[in-house]
């Protein structure tokens, strides 16, 4: 083994560049036309298809697969986009194994579901690579809507509003749009700058302007938006991260997994991203998995996910856990963090209690992935915007307690923190807003 790989401390280039590239390559290489045809042939075109019911955006899956099988790939893409304009990203990041593919009747029949996610990617890739735009804007309504946040919920909402003829301004805190698609998910799930291509594809409908580097609560207030716009859609996600409390330490090597992933996603050269020899990730959700797997991919020698609860409570899907394990990550359960051990301002380890047993792990890096929170300070009108469980309270259409203000995605109390759910909420809120603006009852 290369000496560099086992070097102590937090260093870059533990692995040869080529190996790092390989580790970050497309998790599921795209299907070629022959593979897509063979796979599409497996679909039974079920009636009242379980896959369609399982999809949070209710894509007509049997129809889009049938369209692939008949060589009508653009028609297939439109079937997908009609329900989910971010169908391309969802095809890459959806936990299909717990959604559409879990209930596929061929999973029931032979334990091998139709590869719905892969087929969806195939169809959407064809349309997006051809830059085929399916939607035209309705005649201008003269109405203006502010969307706060350019993640999946914000983009889906903006697209649908624009289609209905409304003008949309998206305010994005960061210098780049895309939200978690751009800054959050693991790099190997959306290679080749896909998140940005998708933003371009979605906004190409027109009528959507994106203002980057504009944070609510700092550059503008919610009150200003409700004043200046006919409606507001809040989709700013969860900008706060939970703290570890007493077990934490202010030291180099102690970081939030969310920030670490965001920096990794924006890194121009992965070979220059430093990583510890030993990394401990605290948490049990998808962020923990993504941080751990990518730490390993950068060349960390030992990567451990330490989860506070038992195996069955871990939020990351069985498939994602397995993926992490295959890539060399150790997952340990019932680990309650007790103390981060430091030396000269540098993390050297972390101690846990596991049901009375004291466990000390050596680590140069401790990444905290113990959940994100709504930054309530953004909402200076918080008093009148009702919250629920620390998130914005919404009804099934996305309406908040404030008239003229809707919300969707992770910042709300609805849904399950999935990209696809955020898309559904953004889309449905847009329909609700449209109804409100065009005089329908709401």
């Amino acid at each position: 083994m290369d000496a560099k790989q086992l070097k102590e401390g937090i260093v870059a280039g533990r692995l040869p560049e080529q190996e790092i590239d390989q580790n970050f390559a497309d998790l599921h290489p795209p299907l070629d036309p022959h593979e897509a045809m063979v796979e599409a042939d497996r679909c039974y075109f079920c009636h009242d298809a379980p896959c369609m019911t399982a999809c949070p955006t209710s894509i007509d899956i049997p129809m889009f697969i049938r369209q692939i099988s008949t060589g009508n790939t653009l028609g297939s893409a439109k079937t997908i986009f009609d329900q989910n304009i971010l169908g391309g990203m969802c095809a890459r990041v959806c936990p299909t194994e717990t959604l559409c593919e879990q209930v596929c009747v061929r999973e029931t029949a032979e334990g091998k579901p139709v590869k719905i996610g892969q087929l969806q990617r195939y169809a959407t890739d064809v349309a997006m690579n051809a830059d085929k735009q399916f939607y035209e804007r309705d005649a201008s309504s003269g109405k203006k809507i502010a969307v706060v946040g350019s993640g999946p919920a914000g983009l889906a909402c903006a697209h649908r509003l624009s289609k209905h003829g409304h003008d949309v301004t998206i305010y994005e805190t960061r210098e780049k749009p895309g939200g978690l698609n751009e800054f959050g998910i693991a790099a190997y799930k959306a290679v080749d700058n896909f998140a940005q291509s998708e933003v371009d594809y979605v906004t190409a409908i027109g009528g959507i302007s994106v203002e980057n580097g504009k944070a609510m609560g700092k550059d503008f207030s919610l009150a200003q938006l409700t004043e200046q716009f006919d409606a507001v859609f809040l989709a700013m996600g969860l900008a706060g991260v939970n703290a570890l409390g007493d077990a934490d330490a202010e030291a180099s090597g102690s970081e939030d997994a969310v920030n670490w992933i965001a920096n990794l996603r924006q890194a121009k050269d992965l070979a220059k991203v430093p990583i510890g020899k030993r990394v401990v990730v605290i948490g049990g959700g998808m962020t923990a998995i993504d941080a751990a797997t990518q730490s390993k991919a950068l060349g960390a020698d030992e990567v451990t996910i330490a989860y506070r609860g038992p195996r069955e409570r871990m939020k990351a899907s069985a498939y994602e856990q397995e993926l992490a394990k295959i890539r060399g990550v150790t997952i340990r359960y019932n680990m309650t963090p007790k103390q981060t051990v430091t030396n000269n301002g540098q993390v050297v380890g972390i101690e846990f209690d596991r049901e009375g047993e004291h466990i000390a792990l050596e680590a140069e890096q401790v990444m905290k992935a113990i959940g994100q929170t709504l930054q309530v300070s953004q909402l200076e009108a918080g008093a009148s915007l009702a919250l629920s469980g620390g998130r914005i309270k919404t009804d099934t259409e996305g309406k908040t307690s404030l008239s003229g203000v809707w919300a969707g995605g992770d910042c709300t109390d609805q849904g399950d923190d999935l990209t696809v759910t955020a898309v559904a909420q953004g889309r449905d809120a847009a329909e609700s807003i449209n109804k409100y603006l065009t005089g329908g009852d709401t």
Binding site: V38, D41, R42, H47, T108, A109
Partner: protein
């Protein structure tokens, strides 16, 4: 082990699987390979009269339709009879027969409808030692425009006439190959029998256009932007062939006339079905052209195992066994009542049985129980049509269950009558035969 040796009108072969007259049997090289693979016999690709060999198109000769996973279901060709010199073919037939004396070699022949033409070629074929001849009255494409092939097969009088010429001019057994491109297969079969033919073989290919190129609007296969109807074969034509074989088997005028069964035979199971409907042996082409000659080994083995399991010692125990069960509709038992039954343990809940019954049939399958997808037959509505069985992707998940005698048919409110009763005696039949 069952004995599957075949004796068809005196022509012996180690098994009943022959290759039909077609591209796979055009030359010694192919036929040698076929015999090495285990084929019991071949019908050599059709010979024409002496003279300059005819020519084929130089573009595509074949078209196809496919099912799921691009499995070939139907095949079509516009290839003509052999385009090699007659004497080359005859020399090769003679040599191959010498090399493989236990295998059957039958020569297919197509010459103009003149006695002299047949008189000229028959001794040449006889000299090769071929076991018999097959008169190609079937090919629907190309040669039919020149008054041969199906142009002959569509006129029973010509069939009878040419069969008679052949019987008069050769000692070899004569098989007449029939075209399915007619209204009633019994007429050409009867003509062959009256003309003295020893047997008929069927079906030849069906006139067809497999598809149209939607970019340039040419039929496929496309020859420089134009297409001509070709002969359709492969698994898709098997049901048509089975019916025609059965029609000849149960026609009093042709009953007992030996039949070589042809049409979409792909597996031992297909072959056994042809035998059961009265074929004395079978001929195969498309399956070999799709998978190569090795498939015959599965056919031999599968037929053997089935016969062993069923206790059939020889082919004669199988041949024609299904013929008495082929009936006119009017004699089917109207008191036989079946209901579809869905095995919930095997059901994968695709819902197709429900939607086809709901949309296109009798609204006899539920889609929900207690708010969950659940598919179950409503006996009060089920007419026993079998559509759900046919569309279900899981074998044996839906079965048709006959009502036992005395059991209530919830649809009609009547108890199942154990007695046989058909349409001829039914009260609704205006021309019924009185039962007394």
């Amino acid at each position: 082990m069952a004995d599957i040796r075949n004796n068809f009108i005196g022509i012996k072969s180690p098994n009943p699987f022959w290759l039909a007259s077609a591209p796979p049997t055009d030359k010694a090289y192919n036929v040698e390979r076929a015999f090495e693979a285990g084929w019991g016999g071949v019908v050599w690709k059709t010979l024409g009269e002496e003279g300059p060999p005819l020519v084929n198109v130089n573009g595509p000769r074949y078209g196809a339709i496919w099912g799921a996973d691009r499995r070939l279901l139907g095949f079509n060709n516009i290839e003509l009879i052999t385009d090699r010199d007659l004497h080359v073919n005859l020399r090769e037939i003679k040599q191959v027969k010498k090399n493989w004396p236990d295998r059957a070699i039958v020569a297919s022949i197509m010459v103009p409808c003149e006695e002299a033409a047949w008189k000229a070629i028959l001794p040449l074929v006889e000299e090769t030692g071929a076991d018999g001849i097959e008169l190609n009255f079937g090919c629907p494409h190309g040669m039919s425009e020149r008054g041969m092939g199906s142009a002959v097969g569509q006129v029973p009088e010509y069939i009878e006439m040419v069969a008679r010429w052949c019987k008069a001019n050769t000692r070899m057994p004569v098989i007449v190959k029939l075209t399915p491109n007619i209204t009633d297969i019994r007429f050409p079969a009867r003509a062959a029998k009256v003309g003295g033919a020893d047997a008929v073989s069927l079906i030849n290919t069906i006139s067809s256009i497999t598809s149209v190129n939607l970019d340039n609007f040419s039929p496929e296969p496309s020859i420089d932007g134009k297409g001509s109807h070709g002969g359709y074969c492969g698994p898709a034509v098997k049901p048509i062939a089975l019916n025609m074989v059965a029609e000849i088997g149960r026609d009093p005028e042709t009953a007992g006339l030996p039949i070589s069964g042809i049409g979409g035979i792909t597996t031992w199971r297909d072959a056994a079905e042809f035998l059961a409907l009265g074929a004395g042996n079978v001929q195969v082409c498309t399956a070999a052209m799709v998978y190569g000659f090795k498939i015959v080994q599965e056919m031999i083995d599968g037929l053997n195992n089935w016969m062993d399991e069923q206790g059939h010692a020889t082919l004669d125990d199988v041949i024609g066994r299904a013929v008495p069960n082929v009936s006119d509709w009017q004699f089917l038992n109207l008191n036989y009542v079946t209901k579809a039954k869905i095995n919930q343990d095997l059901c994968i809940s695709c819902g197709r049985c429900h939607i086809v019954c709901e949309d296109t049939s009798h609204q006899a399958i539920t889609q929900e129980l207690d708010g969950k997808r659940h598919f179950e037959v409503i006996d009060e509505e089920c007419v026993g049509c079998n559509l759900c069985v046919n569309v279900c992707p899981v074998e044996n998940c839906i079965t048709m269950e006959p009502l036992a005698a005395g059991e209530l048919d919830k649809r009609t409110g009547e108890k199942a009558n154990p007695d046989y009763a058909n349409w001829t005696e039914h009260p609704n039949n205006p021309s019924r035969v009185a039962a007394e």
